[in-house]
Symmetry: C2
Subunit: 233 residues, 2 copies
């Protein structure tokens, strides 16, 4: 079936917007392309989808290659099929976004693939020019994440297992791009009843020791039964 109908054949790829959070700001993992077109440009990690491979599987592969991790939160974003998005003909891309705990990374990401010269975390607010329509894809991802964290607290996927409420608030502020009221934020978060207060405190980061919390996954699942996808199989 693959070869009979050449005018119906299409090549397609996935591109993945991988978000991380560090130093109070959102980061995106970009690769420097080592292939034409756009050789030397920054781009989203992504690759072709094989004809015997699920799209999800292709994304999981890309995530693993770039992070060495499995079980990363990921979700399909949108499929882009403009005729001119790729200079060499119409290539469709199914874009995903993923949320990553940067603390889980052992080291700086080193791309296993050879289509990339390097992979670097870029602050979202200061992105270089990007290949193809990748800037557009990132913008669309942010909008999605922004909307989604207001009805499903996926933000936790960006934090270490144990976190302070201040960290959580800074994360929301980074995603929404505006300051939040500390007391109101805490009230609301604790009212969700999905956080477990830990006996421990975080020391050394700030002047005063800060209470640590972690996500209560049972209650979390109860309240937000939206099927969240993770890149582990």
């Amino acid at each position: 079936m693959q070869s009979n109908l050449p005018h119906l054949q299409s090549i397609f790829t996935t591109d993945c917007v991988i978000f991380g959070f560090r130093e109070g700001e959102l980061k995106v993992l970009l690769i420097e392309r080592n292939e034409y077109p756009f050789k030397g440009w920054w781009a989203l990690p992504g690759f072709f989808v094989e004809h015997n491979e699920t799209i999800d599987d292709a994304v999981k592969r890309i995530l693993y290659e770039h992070t060495g991790l499995r079980g990363i939160f990921m979700e399909q974003l949108y499929t882009f099929g403009d005729l001119k998005r790729h200079p060499q003909g119409r290539i469709i891309t199914v874009a995903y976004y993923a949320l990553l705990r940067l603390d889980d990374l052992k080291s700086q990401p080193e791309p296993v693939t050879d289509y990339a010269r390097q992979a670097v975390w870029h602050p979202l607010n200061n992105l270089p020019d990007l290949a193809f329509d990748h800037r557009h894809i990132i913008d669309k991802s942010i909008l999605k994440v922004r909307r989604k964290i207001s009805y499903s607290p996926i933000a936790f996927e960006l934090l270490p297992e144990k976190f302070t409420l201040t960290q959580l608030q800074q994360l929301y502020e980074a995603i929404w791009g505006r300051k939040l009221d500390k007391r109101n934020f805490r009230k609301k978060m604790l009212n969700y009843n999905i956080l477990k207060e830990l006996p421990e405190f975080q020391r050394g980061v700030s002047y005063r020791a800060a209470r640590l919390y972690k996500l209560d996954k049972r209650k979390y699942a109860k309240v937000f039964q939206n099927e969240l996808t993770f890149s582990k199989d």
Copy 2:
């Protein structure tokens, strides 16, 4: 580029969940397939995407072929790429949903295409068995529409230009599958400030003449600047 890399070639299609609203219930347009596989089964209208055609364009084509109308509200839903969704090999489908004013239809839909034997509006609550994973696609569409009408009043796309608040409420009730309080519904809708009260009344439908409203498109656009896509170019 199309023929060099056979293992990267995939065939893909779009499938379109076309919703309508009549007699107080949501309807979905289904076709009876005239081709194998699943010949004789009910399925979503959809077709192959040509390699020199935008996905949006393919959907617009399908919408026009089945309704004779342009300018229908449509939005991309999700891209399905399971290996087993099509018995003859992996065919990716980009699913869209569309909202249609049934009153705009001149006549019963007659498929121009010959892959369909007939096209029939089915009540959403009583669907036949469907080909492929089309049932799954429909379910996902409903969830999307349900969520979307709470933050963006796309429901108007299903109503005639002039409508009563009762009709609007019945539509919301059909989409959400639950009764709403009449007074609260009216209050909320009128508070959006996107409805224009008409001097006219609707007679003959109910015992009492009912006030007609129409959408104030300027204010609507101001408040909900979410890029809504319509199938006109």
